[in-house]
Every structure is written in structure tokens, then in C-alpha cells.
């Protein structure tokens, strides 16, 4: 029961992107297409789970005063691993995401999770919480990515479904579109969660 709640809260009730407003730099920057969003989501989830697990296991060996530097170090190692794995398995997506993969190191979701979760909890709850947060982040990116790709580029997963000369709503691919979609998603989610609570 407890584990299930740990897992599910990250997906909707405490969704890192739409509710906690964390990690929005990648959420705004890479969601120009669904494929990019999935790639970014999976890479972040991978780093989130593994760095939190390792920190949770080692937490008693980490002196309190220098904990942050060690957390960042461990995160950086897993980000590099994720980068290497992506380069060997999905080189195309890695190229498209570019600098945003190394930037996962400073993703605020990971920083906050290591501090408030892995630093204090045992390994099982840490795993389910990170998995939930990771999936919540991935889903949020996928929603934004598909909305922006469909409206802005007339395609989904690089499959173009509009004619060659159709004018698409370009603004959704450009940075302002990211903010528009993001704002609407937050508003919608807030409203539906409030309705449920009443």
C-alpha cells in the first residue's frame, strides 16, 4: 500500500513538472517532438533511479557537511553513463538532445529528490518514489512533446500527416509555444485536481 502510494504520487498528485514546477528547463527546451521528449524522459528517469539508489545505499557513509557535493558527483557519474549508453544505442536521439543530456546533472528534480528522499529513506521506498517521479516527468514531457509536435509540425513521432504545403502553427515549435502549452497544462491539471478534491 505504502509503496504503491510512493509510486503513484509522482505521476499525478505530485507530478514534478506540472505540480511541483521542477525541471522545467528540459521540459520547455526539448519537447519540440515526441521522440525527443521520450528520450529525455527515459534518460532522466535512469539517472534519477540509479543515483537515488546509490545514495540511499551509501547514505551512512556520507558525512552531512559534504553531502551535496557527493550527491552531485554521483549524479554526474550516472549522467555520463546515460550519455554513453544513449550514444551507443540511440545516437540520433542523443544528437537531437545535444547539451540537454549533460545538463541533467543540474536538473532540479534530481537535486531535490536526492536531498529529501534518498538522503533519508531506505532503498525500497526510494526506488518506488524515484520510479514514480521519473515516469511522471516522462509523461509530462510526452504530453507537451506531442501537443507541440502535432500543432507545430503537423507530425507525430516524425510521421508527417499533413500535406507538403500545409501551414502549421509554427509558434508551438518555437520557445513561446512551450510556455503556452506549459501554462495551459498547469491550469488544466490544477482545475481537475481541485474538482476531484471537492
Amino acid at each position: 500500500m505504502g509503496e504503491l502510494q510512493n509510486f503513484s504520487k509522482g505521476i499525478l498528485k505530485e507530478n514534478p513538472v506540472f505540480i511541483m514546477v521542477l525541471g522545467i528547463c528540459p521540459a520547455l527546451a526539448v519537447t519540440t517532438s515526441l521522440i525527443n521528449a521520450i528520450g529525455m524522459g527515459i534518460a532522466t528517469t535512469f539517472v534519477l533511479i540509479f543515483s537515488n539508489l546509490v545514495i540511499s545505499v551509501m547514505k551512512n557513509l556520507i558525512p552531512d557537511k559534504i553531502r551535496t557535493i557527493i550527491f552531485v558527483f554521483i549524479t554526474a557519474v550516472f549522467v555520463t553513463i546515460a550519455d554513453l549508453l544513449m550514444k551507443s544505442i540511440f545516437p540520433e536521439i542523443n544528437k537531437a538532445l545535444g547539451i540537454y543530456i549533460p545538463l541533467i546533472v543540474v536538473n532540479s528534480i534530481i537535486l531535490s529528490r536526492t536531498e529529501i528522499l534518498a538522503n533519508k529513506n531506505k532503498i525500497i521506498p526510494t526506488f518506488f518514489d524515484s520510479l514514480g517521479m521519473g515516469i511522471g516527468f516522462t509523461l509530462a514531457l510526452m504530453i507537451m512533446g506531442s501537443i507541440r509536435e502535432i500543432l507545430g509540425n503537423g507530425s507525430i513521432c516524425n510521421y508527417v500527416f499533413v500535406g507538403e504545403n500545409t501551414r502549421t502553427i509554427l509558434v508551438f515549435i518555437l520557445p513561446p509555444g512551450a510556455f503556452i502549452v506549459y501554462a495551459y497544462m498547469i491550469a488544466l491539471l490544477k482545475k481537475s485536481l481541485n474538482n476531484n478534491a471537492q
Partner: protein
């Protein structure tokens, strides 16, 4: 188990230990993925080469050669060369550098082109990825002018992405010139030194002879603007005092600069000269200078430049260029004041100001020559 207490010794020990363990893990992953990454990279490269050339059966990656920073791959079927793929790039994109792969047939005709890496604006410049680039397929750059129609060439630019289109042409042109200079010459000597040729190589030899002829025909161009092609004579309204002829038709080329002559009732009222300098901060700066018949400067304007917006681009603004009005370069030293001349440089844009003066000076020399 409780957390260990912080003290200097323990901190150092703990950090070193954790670093070592994590670095060991990283080291293992690095060696495990090294080969995969290399293969993935090669496969991606091979895929790109395949998509710009007809079917081949060798491994072009083995034949990679670098000339002038461009990488050339030779594709063969059996023993005969069926094409060259060139990894080329341009610095003139809207967002800086982008690179393409261009496939050439042995006679220099473009087979296909594909974008490798680009940072152009999504929805505008990035439309290069769509069917637009198919217009280059099968074109021979010896006969096909690789500039956009706006600049007098044969290429349809993407609307609202002229700079990206120009840059694309620029990259192909770079590849073509390098191919002609470095590879096709060689291909020619190889085929002539080996008498025992298969049918394909004979064809190749024939083709390369054709290229030679073509380039000979294409080289001596009739007097045609070399620097910049204007489409409308209204551009000269500011440059030349009242004229009633069409300066576009009253054209000559002096010192490699384009000179347009303005006349009223058959009397020369002024000269408009397109001049350039390569000393700009962003490379080439092209200006249009109008001279009165007596040799004083009538007006100047910036035609094309790559200078920094807001700094170097100010040399096109009235504050800077109005200082030349009515000045005769025989008396007015076309050098910035810091270097002993008479020109007030734009602050923060010394390079651009210098380039502007340089281009003006060239134009003046051409003017003196044209007046004789």
C-alpha cells in the same frame, strides 16, 4: 546504523572512497560502450553516404580523404568509381555553422544532398530538410548557378529563409570547388595512365573530359556583375545624382569591381560602384558607393554584410556614412582616425569601420581608372 560524523579526515576519506568507486564504474561503462559508439557513428556516417549516392559495394569510410577541411569519400562498384560523397559545411547559416553531405557523380553532377547538422530556426530555416533540397539533384554546378534567384542564381530560396538557403548553396559550392580541385583532376590522370579500362572507367574518362570543356566554356564570362547582382535600377536613386538612363545596362567591370554609370541626356552624372572588403568582423562586407562626376562621394550604402547586429551593422547607419558625403577621397584620407586617417570609426565596431573604409578606397581606385 547511523550516519558518520563530519570531520576533516572523515570528509576527505569518504569523498575519496566514493569518488574512486564511482569512477571505477564509469571506467567500466566507458570501455564497454566504446566499440558500440564507434560502430554507431560509422553506421550513421555510412547511412548518410548511402542516401546521397547510387548503390555501391565498397566501404567508402576506408577511402576518407580530407581536403581543405572537407572530408571526401569515394564510392566504388566493383573497380569503377560511381561517385564521391563530400562532408561539407558553411559558416553562413542563420545560426552559424551547419554541415551537409553532398553526393557527386564522377562527372561532377550533384546526385543528392542531405543535411547532417543544423541549428536553423525551426519552421523557417529548418525547412531545408523537406523536399526543398531535391531541386539540386542531377544539377551540374558547372552550368547551374548555385546562388539563390534573388542574387541572380538558379536556386529557389525557401521563403523567409533566404539566409539558410544561401548558406546551403554556399556549402555545396565549397564542396564542388574542392572536388574539382582535388579529386577530379586525380581521377583524370588515373584513368589516362591505365590503358586497360573497363567500360565504366572509359565513361568516367569521357565525362571528365566533358567537365574540362564545360569549365573552359564557363570561365570567360561576358561583363556581368561579379560582386552583387541588383535587380532594380531604383537602388541607384540614392547613389547617383539625377540620371535618366538605366545604369544596370551601362555597366563595366574594373579591378574586379562592378561599376554602373549614370547619365542624364548622355552626360555622365555619376558612377555607382559595388565594392567589397574581406576585412569585416564577420568576413565579407559589400557596399555600394556613389561618386559624383567630379570624384566626390555622393552617397554610400551597405549592401550585404555579416557584421554584429547593433555594433558593426551601424556602419550602414546615417551617423557613420553621412561623414563621407561630399568628401573627395583625394583630400579626405579614407582611414579611421586611430590610424591617422580622417574617418570617425563607430565605437565598438573598429573592424567594421575599417572594412567599410577599405571597400571605399578600392571603389575610389576603380573610379579613377574608369574615369580615364
Amino acid at each position: 546504523m547511523t550516519r558518520i560524523a563530519s570531520s576533516l579526515k572523515i570528509n576527505i576519506l569518504s569523498f575519496s572512497l566514493i569518488s574512486l568507486v564511482m569512477l571505477a564504474v564509469l571506467w567500466l561503462v566507458y570501455f564497454a560502450t566504446k566499440e558500440f559508439i564507434k560502430n554507431a557513428k560509422n553506421n550513421a556516417e555510412l547511412e548518410k553516404i548511402k542516401s546521397v549516392l547510387p548503390a555501391f559495394d565498397n566501404n567508402p569510410l576506408d577511402s576518407a580523404k580530407t581536403f581543405d577541411e572537407l572530408v571526401f569519400y569515394t564510392a566504388k562498384k566493383g573497380d569503377s568509381i560511381i561517385g564521391f560523397a563530400c562532408k561539407t559545411f558553411t559558416e553562413r547559416g542563420f545560426n552559424g555553422k551547419f554541415s551537409l553531405m553532398v553526393g557527386f557523380l564522377p562527372n561532377g553532377t550533384i546526385y543528392k544532398t542531405i543535411i547532417l547538422e543544423q541549428n536553423e530556426t525551426p519552421g523557417f530555416g529548418s525547412r531545408m530538410k523537406s523536399k526543398w533540397h531535391e531541386q539540386f539533384n542531377g544539377k551540374d554546378p558547372a552550368k547551374y548557378n548555385l546562388t539563390v534567384k534573388k542574387d541572380g542564381g538558379d536556386v529557389d530560396a525557401i521563403s523567409s529563409a533566404t539566409i539558410s538557403s544561401r548558406a546551403y548553396c554556399d556549402a555545396i559550392e565549397t564542396a564542388y570547388l574542392s572536388l574539382m580541385k582535388n579529386i577530379l583532376k586525380k581521377a583524370d590522370t588515373v584513368t589516362t595512365s591505365e590503358p586497360s579500362e573497363t567500360n565504366n572507367t572509359v565513361e568516367l574518362k569521357k565525362d571528365s573530359n566533358i567537365i574540362k570543356k564545360d569549365s573552359v566554356v564557363a570561365a570567360p564570362m561576358p561583363a556581368k556583375p561579379a560582386i552583387f547582382q541588383f535587380s532594380d535600377k531604383s537602388i541607384f536613386n540614392d547613389a547617383i545624382p539625377a540620371f535618366d538612363n538605366d545604369p544596370l545596362k551601362d555597366f563595366k567591370s574594373v579591378n574586379g569591381l562592378d561599376i554602373y554609370i549614370g547619365k542624364k541626356n548622355g552626360v555622365i552624372t555619376g558612377y555607382a560602384i559595388t565594392s567589397f572588403s574581406n576585412k569585416g568582423y564577420g568576413g565579407k562586407v559589400i557596399i555600394l558607393v556613389g561618386f559624383n562626376a567630379d570624384g566626390s562621394i555622393n552617397n554610400t550604402s551597405l549592401v550585404q554584410h555579416n557584421e554584429t547586429q547593433g555594433l558593426g551593422s551601424q556602419v550602414g547607419g546615417p551617423d557613420f556614412k553621412d561623414q563621407f558625403k561630399g568628401k573627395n577621397p583625394a583630400l579626405f584620407k579614407l582611414q579611421i582616425k586611430a590610424e591617422g586617417g580622417d574617418v570617425d570609426a563607430v565605437s565598438g565596431a573598429t573592424f567594421s569601420s575599417r572594412a567599410f573604409c577599405d571597400a571605399l578606397q578600392k571603389a575610389y581606385y576603380a573610379f579613377l581608372k574608369a574615369k580615364k
